[in-house]
Symmetry: C2
């Protein structure tokens, strides 16, 4: 069933049906009613593909992310999807695993399908998008990087000040009297690096002694957090606060402390990062940093929409995280 069938049935031309379909003004009321009547009883659906053929847009945007199962990405992607849906776009999800080959593959198909734009979610894309192939692909359509920066003609960014986020945690701990701070670093993305730098700087700012190795590298998991703290305990390091780059490692840290009989927050404090459900499940509930994924998503959508529809003035921007007080500090 296509537009010709409707036209024949209603005894008009396809142009008229098209006009009715798209609510154009210049259609006689009687004709309109007649066509609408046929439309109603024939349960015809216009083909978005044929439309896209003409308009060169399928009203679809792609969200490339590392892994939608990570709550932080899920929250971001959720808000992006809902906002775009409101604006009449569909959202395609791509789990790249942070891998170059996958990213490139997804980009190619997304471009073949003439997506209207792309949101890159996660700071991995900062480093991932530096190859000539990827850059030349990205140049072909509007791109917004959620938490990252790209120096490309059509690319804009919504940044989160991760460095500042961690400094909030350090300031907070110091003001509460904690002095022996350690940092649990989990990965090697730009974001993780910035957080770590923020920790080192904030520590210095407060004139805390540089006892040497107060940054512990570990894996991004409950177990990673536990092992790092267990090692700290085993080697009898003096510490009274563990600053973590992620809530999940913080949850592991708390677990290790409690199991070792160390009271939280009396004997040792812990801070997380992301203000996730993980922070609230943790007992005691984690003090954490809210890096506002919903806000990042909203701004990304606004930015990308303005790029796609060439309306408004668009510009990149930066978001300041906030500390959320829990019971672990």
């Amino acid at each position: 069933m296509n537009i010709y069938d409707i036209a024949r049935e209603a005894g008009v031309s396809i142009s008229t049906v098209s006009r009715v379909l798209n609510n154009k003004e210049n259609v006689n009321e009687n004709t309109r009613r007649k066509v609408e009547e046929v439309l109603r009883r024939s349960n015809y659906t216009p083909s978005a593909i044929a439309r896209g053929m003409v308009s060169k847009s399928m009203r679809t945007v792609a969200v490339l992310t590392v892994d939608i199962r990570v709550p932080h990405y899920a929250r971001t992607a959720y808000t992006i999807e809902r906002e775009f849906s409101r604006r009449g776009y569909e959202v395609t999800i791509c789990n790249t695993g942070g891998e170059l080959a996958e990213t490139e593959k997804y980009l190619r198909t997304v471009i073949e399908k003439k997506a209207d734009g792309i949101v890159l979610v996660g700071s991995v894309f900062n480093t991932l998008c530096r190859t000539p192939e990827i850059e030349s692909l990205l140049k072909t359509l509007p791109v917004v990087l959620a938490n990252g920066k790209l120096d490309l003609p059509n690319s804009y960014s919504v940044l989160v000040d991760d460095r500042y986020g961690i400094s909030l945690a350090v300031d907070h701990l110091v003001s509460r009297g904690y002095r022996e701070l350690y940092y649990l670093k989990d990965m090697d993305t730009v974001s993780a690096r910035l957080k770590c730098e923020g920790f080192v700087e904030a520590r210095k700012k407060h004139g805390l002694e540089g006892s040497g190795k107060y940054v512990l590298e570990t894996s991004l998991s409950i177990d990673g957090g536990m092992k790092a703290v267990q090692e700290l305990i085993r080697t009898k390091q003096k510490f009274d606060a563990i600053v973590c780059g992620e809530d999940i490692t913080a949850a592991g840290a708390v677990k290790a402390l409690l199991r070792a009989g160390i009271k939280v927050p009396e004997e040792a404090a812990v801070t997380g990062f992301n203000n996730s459900e993980y922070a609230r499940i943790c007992e005691p509930q984690l003090t954490t940093i809210d890096n506002k994924p919903e806000l990042v998503a909203m701004l990304s959508v606004q930015l990308l929409t303005s790029l796609i529809e060439k309306t408004d003035a668009y510009s990149s921007c930066t978001i300041q995280p906030e500390l959320v007080q829990g019971k672990t500090t």
Copy 2:
């Protein structure tokens, strides 16, 4: 830049370019090389829309779910996306919020865009898809319901035996000597109802006294779990085990018990459902039911693929959950 440009540049017809593009056999090696050379240096991308115009498929499937932020749905959607990506399909995500109007809206656009198929993730769709409008929409394309059943010509399902899942928890608790079991029911989906029934039946099977109100309704959140247990404590009910329909409420239950000074699992046991990261963050780690979202996703994808490509024999199926022992029982 389109297929005509390439043809002109290479001095051949568009058919030949099309043949090269689609790796057809009957092309002279020299011609092929010549065209490929032009293709390479012109960074031309074939339009998937124009292709879709002919083939009537954009190689896209839609995943309708309630909310991608819920870890269980995220895990399911993740696996679905990865598997379809491997098979050359893109995945559109739709967060319906479990609402009828949104579901219908999404279905309409998905059908307009000629999606090759749909996966419905979540048992809400069991009840949601009973309206004539939705049914007539679903009839137009292949549908797989992950954890649900629909009596429609083109709809198949991958079921999880939730009732059996909860019975595993009850059996386990009883075998460990717990006798005063309560159930925390969180919502009102088919799945939640089945779990609750499973609890009641298993309780009866073990000949536990029907002390009356041992099913507590609460909200699906940490707070919901906490409040229910706090109420139990406040009203001085005798209990030694809390069976929960979700890990998140179980985490709340554990929190409430610990805060009340009740030892877990010595004085009271708790079981969750989903085998999620929440279960592992909980301290002590939750005993929970693994309802295998990855397996559900894999089977759903296989089923839908076979429906779309009309290969293999396709059929609905049911999955048995397993108990995962933690430290709360």
